[in-house]
């Protein structure tokens, strides 16, 4: 099941390469829709009461290095897999509806990215995780570099180098973890479950945690480590950016829960305050930046920093409620930020600009577009009643009970979010339309791409318990490991 899930996108991508140019996108999209089907089956068949891995695959891969090909889903990864499976078809179909240069390569890269991302979420071997974590970047390098906007090559290089800084350090740390945890003469293993049972000395945990944290924080990105973000966001093609912001950023937060907390419990406790400070700084900084920017991509980008700050804060409340909220919020944020970027793409086609100053009045003749965007905006600002609110609620409850002061500061971010998200909506959809802006209703094809995403947002808003119920056992178990 998981093997198929992992290989299907790539297989479809390769097949797409052999197809005529026009068909490539549709073949790749069909593959990703297949993945979506599998993911739905996965969610449907998920045993919510268990906190262990399900559908495990565990075969030897590189015995010489102790690396195993171990996959599995638990509550932690289930919905992130589902998110990946959901947004990738959206981005692919959205792209397939448009004229793209060198479509075969484009869709191959998108497909590779999907496989790698799924791999990162499914991997249960530390090294396999690191491998997929790094591999994800490669297709994005191409996607941004070859199909991006102005300054794409420096931007994409900056992104990949910067993010690899963290993840390569993580490679060293992963190896060191395995080696240090292996008793003398024992067989080296990278299995996360096995490593969990041999906890390292506190001193080792400290520096290993720092390496892992660096990788995850850069990927998110968190405050001070987001230097790659602005340029990459400016340059990336929008469907790609949607995936970058919607899914890739989550891998970092996911890594904290999957790797850092279980393997380095003492270090996690030790660095809790530090990471919380970073998270809060991300929240405040991201929010403040988001309302000074006029480029719509950057508004969404900086808001992502803030949102990821919330997620990190939730994880590092080191409480089940906070962690549950964080996982829920990962899914939610992915689910809202993808439509945001796709809508920005639609807006760009109508206004020819991505600057707030040159946008406006779009709602006039496009009420459906406006309504879709409105729902997404409200979810983005974590309007109570949305699943995002439930996520933030859980995060803040956790934080509130762990570190009350941090919770108060974090709640400032909630208020700021309302401002920047609404500003984005208002200045694109409302006010007068400047010269050159063509208010045109969204086409039914694009609508069909966006509507399911928005429908998911609404459905989750009505019943967030659907996710919470399934993630709770595994997430709580991850946090409970701390001794």
């Amino acid at each position: 099941m998981l093997n198929l899930l992992l290989s299907l996108p790539l297989a479809a991508g390769v097949v797409a390469c052999a197809m005529p140019r026009r068909a490539a996108g549709w073949v790749a999209s069909a593959g990703s829709l297949g993945v979506l089907g599998l993911a739905i089956a996965l969610v449907a068949g998920f045993d919510a009461s268990a906190d262990g891995l399900q559908h495990s695959v565990d075969v030897s891969w590189i015995p010489g290095l102790g690396v195993r090909y171990a996959l599995g889903v638990d509550g932690l990864s289930l919905f992130l897999v589902a998110l990946t499976a959901l947004v990738w078809p959206a981005a692919m179909i959205f792209s397939a509806l448009r004229e793209i240069e060198r479509p075969r390569l484009y869709f191959l890269m998108l497909a590779l990215a999907e496989s790698a991302t799924l791999g990162a979420f499914l991997a249960q071997d530390l090294l396999l995780f690191v491998l997929f974590f790094d591999l994800m970047l490669v297709p994005f390098y191409f996607l941004i570099g070859a199909w991006g906007g102005a300054n794409r090559v420096p931007a994409t290089t900056k992104m990949i180098v910067y993010t690899l800084v963290g993840s390569l350090l993580m490679l060293v740390a992963a190896i060191a973890t395995a080696i240090l945890a292996t008793p003398a003469g024992g067989q080296l293993t990278f299995s996360i479950a096995a490593l969990q049972s041999h906890l390292l000395s506190t001193g080792s945990q400290y520096w290993l945690f720092c390496f892992f944290a660096a990788a995850f924080l850069v990927k998110m990105p968190a405050f001070l480590l987001h230097g790659w973000m602005a340029d990459a966001y400016r340059a990336a093609p929008l469907p790609v950016l949607a995936l970058l912001s919607g899914v890739l950023s989550k891998v970092g937060a996911y890594g904290f829960l999957r790797v850092a907390l279980p393997l380095f419990p003492q270090a996690t406790t030790h660095f809790q305050e530090l990471i919380l400070v970073v998270a809060l700084a991300s929240i405040l900084y991201g929010s403040a930046m988001a309302f000074t920017q006029t480029n719509v991509r950057l508004i969404a980008g900086y808001s992502s920093i803030a949102q990821l700050g919330f997620i990190t804060a939730g994880i590092f409340s080191l409480r089940p409620d906070g962690a549950n909220g964080a996982v829920l919020q990962m899914v939610n944020h992915g689910l809202v930020v993808v439509p945001v970027f796709l809508i920005i793409a639609v807006l760009y086609e109508r206004a020819g600009s991505e600057d707030l100053g040159r946008l406006g009045g779009m709602a006039m003749r496009a009420p459906v577009l406006a309504a879709l965007f409105l729902v997404v905006t409200l979810a983005t600002l974590a309007m109570p009643g949305s699943a995002n609110f439930v996520g933030e609620l859980y995060i803040l409850i956790g934080l509130f009970q762990a570190k009350i002061v941090y919770a108060f500061v974090a709640s400032i971010g909630v208020a700021l979010a309302a401002f920047y998200a609404l500003r984005l909506y208002q200045r694109t959809m409302h006010n007068r339309a400047p010269e050159g802006v063509e208010s045109r209703e969204i086409g039914w094809r694009d609508g069909l791409v966006l509507a399911p995403l928005v429908a998911c947002i609404v459905a989750l808003a009505l019943y967030p318990q659907f996710i919470l119920h399934r993630i709770d056992p595994s997430t709580s178990a991850k946090v409970a490991l701390r001794r």
């Binding site: 549950n324 859980y394 409850i397 208020a415 309302a418």
Partner: protein, 668 residues
Amino acid sequence: MSATTYAWLVLALPLAGSLTIAFGYRLWPGRAAGWIGTAAIGLAFLASIGALTQLLGEPSEHRQLTSSLWDYASAAGVNVKLGILVDPLSVFMILVVTGVSTLIHLYSVSYVESDRGYARFFSYLNFFVFSMLLLLLAGNFVLLIVGWAFVGFASYALISFWYRRETATKAGMKAFVINVVGDVGLVLAAFFVFRELHAFDYLTVFQGAAGHFHTNQGVVVAICLLLLVGAFAKSAQLPLHTWLPDAMEGPTPVSALIHAATMVTAGVYLIARMHPLFELAPTAADIAAFIGLATVIVAASIALVVTDLKRIIAYSTMSQIGYMVVGVSIGAYTAGMFHLMTHAFFKALLFMAAGSVIAAMASRQDIDRMGGFRRSLPYTSLLLIVGALALSGFPGTSGFFSKDEILVFAAERGGFYWIFAIAGYAAAAMTAFYSFRIVFRVCYGEPCPEAEALREGHMAHAEPENPVTGEPEDTDVGFPGPEHHVAEQARSMAIAMGCLGLAALVGGFVQIPGVSDAIGHFLEGTFANSKLATGNPPTGDAYLGLLAGAVVSVLGIGLAYLLYVVRPGLAPALRTRLSGVHRFLVNRWYFDELIDAVVVRPTLWLGRFFDDVIERRVVQGLVEGTVGVVRGTSTAVRFAQSGFVRAYALLLITGFAGLGLYFLIVSS
């Protein structure tokens, strides 16, 4: 059907109406959307009555019913259900809300008829009602917050309904952001509650609170203060009130419904709902009462000088809500809720009448340009006067009974609470004055050209322009609508206004000291455990209070008559004499400027600072610095690669020398 089923129905009907209108926005012909909306709310009103009767059928101890649909978000020890609480307080509130809403929907069916966003308007309006009902019926803090935020959003959407006006979108934004600040306060309060009592459920919390907290314990005071942040943001109390006057950018029925009758009273409802907590934190309750009083006075004083018709009523709303806040904070729950109800009637009426006048003025709202509508708009003028009388607390009208009940309760409570009574009566005089300032400026005096035209049967048509900035309106799509509707010509408006006028006049009779105590009796179920709500003040004192109220009201009206009818020149003279005071009041006590300087500017400055300094220098500096170091090393390496083979040989020898040195050191 049980009371809770009716309550779910009350929730479902407006939501269904909203969605029906929204999804079918292209299908509904003519006024269909309006009628669907009105019908949905009307049915909700009927369902509310159903809930009321069912509730009255229960013994008074068992009038707190809960019901839940499904687990909304329950994990890791947190338990949140999609649950409602049906008790006298919520039923009372939903009755008021659905009742007034039905009439305002009815009014709107005609009033916004020519607006392009007709369906959108009713969809929003129905959604608002749904949100408000959700807020009222919520059985736990989370759902309360959801409803709380939904009404905030609905308010935003309706304020910036004419979204092509930049003033409207700005005002919407302001309202939304301030409301979100309130939401955050509420959320934090909920967290505190959860941390202390491990529950979000009202009944669990209230039952647990009494045993868990002792009076004026820091935590419970903090909870109450945070609740107050939420309440004050929503109810436009100082200093979070600045959005309300700007909210008048919305269509007039919106002002009537949201910014007068229903949403803005949510804060009052919240304090009443949370009375078990407030009674444990008297300090917080006192703070609330004083802020309420301050709002009463400040708002009334501003209303004296403002010339925008809707804004005068808006300040009046603030002021009246201040009374209610005082009431529920000092324990006069019944009186507070009573005033809430009567205020809903007469304030909605005032806005409707104002809407009719503004329509006649072709969207102009400045009372200085109005005059003499008495003859051209007789029905409107009549109801405007009825509303003003109720607002001024003219003896016999609804406002007369409800306001006095609060003030009498304050006086009776003793201690420093008499301040509220004295100041309250003083403010009541101002209220009476500005109410009749409106009446005299609009209905009396020289008829303005529009009034003249209307008498000859022509509706005024003006170049569409923004009433605030005066810039020409975007006529491309025709909102706020090329045609205007006045009550005299539109039957639905007339009916709605008539009903409210009646309610404003006689609504007070349900609760007359010594005669009837319907509301107090009904609400007992909710406030049974309250230490403060100890029944009604002595009838004698109550009548003394009524007398004082009557005197003050008549005095105020008389003064207004003197200034605006008998000696019209006196007002401008007074304005020049007291120019300092006038300027201070016209500038609304400089609250906007204060908030701008304290909150908005620093935040923007911080954003710019982040952008200019942190982002450019620190974050990018981190990148560029590293790149610079690498580049520098690269330059050095490539400079060393000079092409001179002898230099390469030298480096080889040097390298060996270094290596050899190391080995010699190791060996020794």
